[in-house]
């Protein structure tokens, strides 16, 4: 049916329905019938577009990783040129409102847990981890020796993820201001005074 250009629309619908379903009923109850139903489509179409449920979950996880990446990239692009500005932009991107709302965090934690026993999801997770760290290390290297920069990047990455997860555990609203403040302090502790 020459309703051309449907594929990207359908994929989008299905990925959104997947994230919504995981948020609301959890991964264990996220059957393809449930997901397709929320998307207003039939179950069969999931295999048609994503090759199967695994493909859809994979695409859904990629989606939230990409949203995070985009949120960070935007802020970094808009930031000033100093390493400190760039690093603060990375922090801000990670605490973007698209990332720290309750629904997103529930989905994140779900994928996190799932990735512990699913090779494909773990790969995505690790790629994301590495990207955050190398991104941080890139800017630290401008003002710190290589080994110091690595250490600082590792520490800040852990702090960001830690604050992040601490937020998802709290259940209530994520206190962005406070998380940002904590991360900023951590950052300044590693930056040479001259770079402040």
């Amino acid at each position: 049916m020459p309703k051309l250009g449907m594929p990207p629309i359908r994929r989008e619908q299905l990925i959104r329905a997947t994230l919504e379903t995981i948020d609301q009923v959890g991964l264990a109850d996220a059957t393809i019938a449930e997901i397709a139903g929320r998307a207003g489509l039939s179950a069969g179409i999931i295999s048609h577009y994503f090759g199967g449920k695994d493909g859809l979950l994979n695409a859904a996880m990629r989606r939230i990783l990409r949203q995070l990446h985009d949120a960070v990239a935007e802020r970094v692009a808009a930031a000033g040129e100093s390493p400190r500005d760039k690093l603060r932009a990375i922090i801000d991107g990670n605490f973007d409102s698209t990332q720290v709302n309750p629904a997103a965090m529930r989905v994140w934690l779900t994928f996190w847990a799932a990735s512990m026993h699913d090779a494909q999801l773990r790969r995505l997770q690790h790629a994301n981890d590495r990207r955050l760290q190398s991104n941080l290390a890139h800017y630290f290297r401008r003002v710190l020796p290589a080994s110091e920069a690595q250490k600082a990047a590792r520490g800040l990455a852990a702090m960001i993820d830690g604050l992040w997860l601490r937020g998802s555990l709290a259940g209530g609203e994520f206190d962005v201001a406070r998380a940002r403040h904590t991360a900023y302090e951590y950052l300044d502790h590693y930056l040479p005074k001259s770079a402040h």
Copy 2:
């Protein structure tokens, strides 16, 4: 031959097998056949002793919560009488080696994610949260006004859980010394100088 006293032994076997299974293959693949197999028992017995899979998972979660509780209680009992000693004992108990090894943390995170969409597990989770907080508040109240004590307890509880989860994310060994140090600092920040 009735084999008196079998029930507690069987329950123990099955709960251990459940935790081991969740650690190794994940909750999604933790079928009762798999669990019973690891326990060296038949699948049917799970319904016999726990009323069903849900009952077993519930019991397994209670088990790890109780282990945490015991680890804390022991330390508190052995600690000095000052609020600071007691509060440090609570922190130490939470970072006990039975709690921060990779397997235990994997299971914890799994239950954490599951409790987001399972009413029974959520209840256990919340009860545990409240217990930690009221425990902390109890000792804070000895040296702080009620409202201050509440706030301090809430903050320290979040810090403990946060450090804890940050550790499970890191994947490697949990740095107990550092986590304890961070929590101690947080604690001293809230305690009046006179209580140090």
Copy 3:
């Protein structure tokens, strides 16, 4: 349910139901629900006993191969000691009434066609082919040089299978007497006069 000794009975029931189903509705419509229904059992039990549909079909094909083997072995054991007697017994076994009734032949032809595109079934088919031929060659070698024996065995095997299939195509009753007569003539043509 300690109704001990059920497995072999169930397997038997299911294999019989499979052959009956293939005979009556064909392989394409031989769903596990249909088969299990004819056996008076639930569909799930097939995976339980045979690991899946493939396993059951495999077992069913093995069954008819084994029945053929047994029919031949019995006749050979009861036959006189001369190569001619043994070879005639092999022929007779292949045209045993358990093998040449319409239902059996329909199932045979079905498996034959299926084995053209199914690796597992083809393996069974070939193993059976080789067994028939080596069985024939064994007796031919007593009165013929090796290479001659091979050729004779190859020829007689083809003749047996050919008559057999010709029968299944005819649709009506298999004319055992005529098939046997034809095969005997073929046999005598290869045997040295002294061996008649």
Copy 4:
């Protein structure tokens, strides 16, 4: 642009793709997507031209029956006028190279098996059987009394099909010369000496 004359071309493409698919992957895996893909067309078109998959399979079987019919008719037309020449021509047509190559035989056997449980295909099969036999009987009647002619036709038809199937079972090259020789002998056995 209506592209006049497309229908017959499309039908041809699809029938060929069907036979090719059945040869290579078997009837069970001959999905319409697979067939349409081999034809370089979309899946929907099959229902358009053949009303559905059944219609296509029907047409494909008709095709191979017609190819056989044509091969026979050609030879009969070119043959001498004696019954013996005509009958030999019918035999030759059945062992035409278009009929006895491995691919054609695999498809034949597949349809054969399928026709055992599919009313439509069985009808085609029987019509073909009857045509062969009445064709043979027609020429036998010139030199034999009616009842004798029927019997001879039935025998020769069975022999032809039998040799044919025996060939498809052998797996290797079909020995046309030998099959023809066997059928000729059978034929001469029934023909009155004067008709040789």
